[in-house]
């Protein structure tokens, strides 16, 4: 399951999607909207996505992870639109036979997603807003 969605992400469905009889380990990363970033109080977030390219890149990342580690299955779902504090922005689930591979593949997937998948996060504060990472 690899998708961009404007609906709340069903975490349980992501975990179910990576079930495999040969898997002894699943690592799940859940990115949520926190109320504070770099000393600013965040009111809400907005994610904008280049949907088709984002899904294409996420599929490429899942394939690359499966080449690097003995991955059974990968699920990656990213939310778009307006999110409140506490809402889930992204879920990545990876199943592998042994746990070290699950941790490493999952961590690589979220790190690399943040570098290459065309998704943009705007933080909205009481007095203003900002696209993250835009400026040096």
């Amino acid at each position: 399951m690899i998708a961009v969605t404007d609906q709340p992400i069903a975490i349980a469905a992501c975990i179910d999607a990576v079930q495999a009889e040969r898997a002894g380990a699943v690592d799940v990363f859940i990115g949520t909207v926190r109320n504070h970033n770099q000393s600013k109080d965040v009111v809400r977030l907005e994610f904008e996505t280049f949907d088709s390219m984002a899904v294409k890149k996420m599929k490429e990342l899942a394939e690359e992870a499966s080449r690097r580690w003995p991955v059974e299955k990968v699920a990656m779902v990213h939310r778009k639109g307006v999110l409140s504090i506490g809402e889930v922005a992204v879920v990545i689930a990876v199943s592998t036979p042994h746990r070290n591979d699950a941790f490493e593949a999952c961590r690589w997937l979220i790190d690399t997603l943040k570098q290459v998948v065309p998704i943009w996060k705007k933080e909205i504060y009481e007095n203003g807003e900002e696209w993250l990472e835009a400026h040096p």
Binding site: G31, F47, E48, T49, F50, S52, M53, A54, K56, H78, A89, V90, I110, L113, K114, Q115, V116, V117, P118, I119, W120, K121, K122, W131, L132, E133, A134, H135, P136
Partner: protein
Amino acid sequence: MELTIHLYGITRDIIGQSRYVVQLPPGARVQQLLESVRTSYPELAELKSLLVAVNEEYAEAETPLSERDEIALIPPVSGG
């Protein structure tokens, strides 16, 4: 040739619309597109990075462009 550029995030805010039409000589490459939009919108030069996606793939500076391509400006991504 007339290229339609899809805009997202801060580039959409800077240019003020979600699609931007630019005139470039036939056979123009990604590098010329970037020079053209940075000349028209100097704020784009202040971004940490600015890439171009051609048909949903990151393109090199030397990649040639055509009117049939789906072209997008990609400011620094910040998903997750």
